[in-house]
C-alpha cells in the first residue's frame, strides 16, 4: 500500500502532472491564475472534488453499467461541485464572485473525468481517493506557481499584499489573457526539457550498465 501510494504521488505530481504533462484542466488553469488567492481556492476545490468523486466512483465501480457510466460519473462529479459552490458562496462570497462560472466548470474539468476513467474504474476506493487528491495537488501546485508569477509581475503583489516596489511598472499584459498562455507555455517547455534530459540520462546509464 505504501509503495503504491508513493508511485501514485510521484506520478500525479510530476511524471504525469495533469496540467503541464497531460494538458488537462487548462481552462481554469488559465482563467483563475491572475491572482494567487483565487488559484489557491480553485485548487482546493478541485482537490476536494477529484478525491471524493474518485472515491465514490471506485466504490460504485462494480454497480455502474458500462454503457451509461459517463453520465453517472458526470452526475457524481456535479453533486460534489454543487457542495463546493454552495460552500464558497456562503463562506467566501467575494472569491466566489471572482471565480464566477469557473467553479461550475469544475464539472467539465478533464482531470476529474480522466482520473475516474483511468484510475478509479479499476482500483480500490482508498487508493483512488489518494490518486484523486494527488492529481488535484499537482494541479494546485502548477496553478499557484503560475499565479504567483503573474500576480507579482502584473500587480506587483503576492497573495494580495502589495510589495510597494519603487520604480516598478506593472506588466499589465501578465494579468490579461495572453500572459496566461505564455506562462503556461513556459511551464510546459521547462518541464518537457527536464523530462527529456532525465530520460536521456536513464538511457546513458542503461548503456553503461551493458
Amino acid at each position: 500500500m505504501k509503495k503504491e501510494l508513493q508511485t501514485v504521488f510521484y506520478r500525479n505530481l510530476w511524471k504525469e502532472n495533469p496540467v503541464i504533462r497531460q494538458i488537462l484542466g487548462i481552462c481554469s488553469a488559465l482563467a483563475v491564475t491572475n491572482l494567487a488567492v483565487n488559484s489557491l481556492v480553485m485548487g482546493l476545490g478541485l482537490m476536494f472534488v477529484t478525491a471524493l468523486s474518485s472515491f465514490t466512483i471506485s466504490l460504485l465501480r462494480n454497480y455502474i453499467p458500462q454503457r451509461i457510466r459517463m453520465i453517472v460519473q458526470t452526475l457524481i462529479i456535479a453533486a460534489y461541485v454543487i457542495v463546493v459552490d454552495i460552500f464558497l458562496k456562503a463562506n467566501l462570497p467575494e472569491i466566489s464572485k471572482a471565480l464566477g462560472p469557473y467553479v461550475g466548470l469544475i464539472i467539465t474539468n478533464c482531470i476529474i473525468m480522466g482520473r475516474a476513467e483511468a484510475f478509479a474504474q479499476k482500483n480500490p476506493p482508498v487508493l483512488s481517493l489518494f490518486d484523486g487528491l494527488f492529481a488535484g495537488l499537482g494541479y494546485t501546485i502548477i496553478l499557484l506557481g503560475v499565479a504567483l508569477i503573474r500576480e507579482l509581475l502584473g500587480f506587483g503583489s503576492v497573495f494580495g499584499y502589495s510589495l510597494n516596489m519603487v520604480n516598478f511598472t506593472p506588466w499589465t499584459i501578465m494579468v490579461m489573457p495572453p500572459g496566461a498562455f505564455f506562462m503556461i507555455a513556459i511551464f510546459i517547455w521547462i518541464s518537457s526539457n527536464m523530462m527529456s534530459k532525465r530520460t536521456e540520462k536513464a538511457k546513458l546509464k542503461k548503456q553503461e550498465a551493458k
Binding site: 481554469s28 488559465l30 459552490d85 462560472p101 464539472i107 473525468m113 489573457p177 496566461a180 498562455f181 517547455w189
Partner: protein, 199 residues
C-alpha cells in the same frame, strides 16, 4: 448580479466573436482546442459542430432555467440540470442528424460525443445565468460565442499547419508551441478591446 438588460443583442453577438472570444479571453473549451487543431479541415468541422450544439443547448437551457428552475427555486441544482440537458440534446442532435442529414453526420459525427464535455458549452449556459440575459441576448450570445470559437480554432489550425514544417526548439513542440501561438492570437485580439464591452 450583473444585470444587462440594456445591451443590444447585436452588440453581444459581435462582442462574443471578437472582444469576449470564448477561447482567447474566457479560456473555455481549451481541451479540444489544443488536441483537435492539427488539421484545418477537422478543426473547422469541430468548430461547426460546436456552434450548432452551442445554439441549441443554450436556448434549451434558457427555457428550462427560466420556466422550470427559477419558479421551483431549484437554482442550486442548475449544474446538474444543465449538464443533463447538454448530454441529452447532443444525443438527440446526433439521432436527428443521422436520420435527416447523413452526410453531415458522417463528417461531424465523431466530434459530437466530445462536445458533451467541452466546457465552452456549459460555460455559455453559466454565463447566461450570471449575466441575466433575456431570450434574444441568449440566442445571439450562444451563436456569437460558437462562431468565435470556430474562428479561433480554425485560425490556430491554419497557423499550426504552416508552423509544423519549421524547426521548433526542442521541448516546445506540441502543446508548448500551441500555447505560444494562442497567446499571440490573444495579444492580437486585445487590439479590438474597447469596441464592445460586455464584461
Amino acid at each position: 448580479m450583473l444585470n444587462s438588460p440594456n445591451i443590444s443583442p447585436f452588440v453581444i453577438f459581435f462582442a462574443s466573436i471578437i472582444t469576449s472570444n470564448m477561447i482567447l479571453s474566457n479560456f473555455l473549451g481549451m481541451c479540444s482546442f489544443i488536441s483537435v487543431s492539427n488539421e484545418y479541415k477537422t478543426a473547422s468541422g469541430l468548430g461547426k459542430s460546436v456552434t450548432m450544439v452551442m445554439v441549441v443547448t443554450t436556448i434549451i437551457n434558457y427555457v428550462i432555467y427560466k420556466y422550470v428552475v427559477v419558479p421551483l427555486s431549484l437554482e442550486y441544482l442548475r449544474y446538474i440540470i444543465f449538464i443533463i440537458v447538454i448530454a441529452a440534446s447532443v444525443q438527440i442532435i446526433e439521432l436527428v442528424m443521422d436520420r435527416y442529414l447523413p452526410d453531415l453526420h458522417i463528417k461531424l459525427g465523431i466530434f459530437l460525443p466530445l462536445i458533451t464535455v467541452n466546457c465552452a458549452i456549459l460555460g455559455i449556459s453559466l454565463f447566461m445565468v450570471i449575466r441575466n440575459y433575456d431570450f434574444w441576448q441568449t440566442l445571439l450570445f450562444g451563436f456569437g460565442s460558437g462562431l468565435g470559437w470556430w474562428l479561433a480554432i480554425a485560425t490556430l489550425a491554419a497557423i499550426k499547419e504552416k508552423v509544423a514544417k519549421n524547426n521548433i526548439p526542442k521541448g516546445l513542440e506540441g502543446p508548448g508551441l500551441t500555447f505560444i501561438i494562442t497567446g499571440l492570437m490573444a495579444l492580437a485580439f486585445i487590439g479590438f478591446s474597447g469596441i464592445f464591452v460586455i464584461q
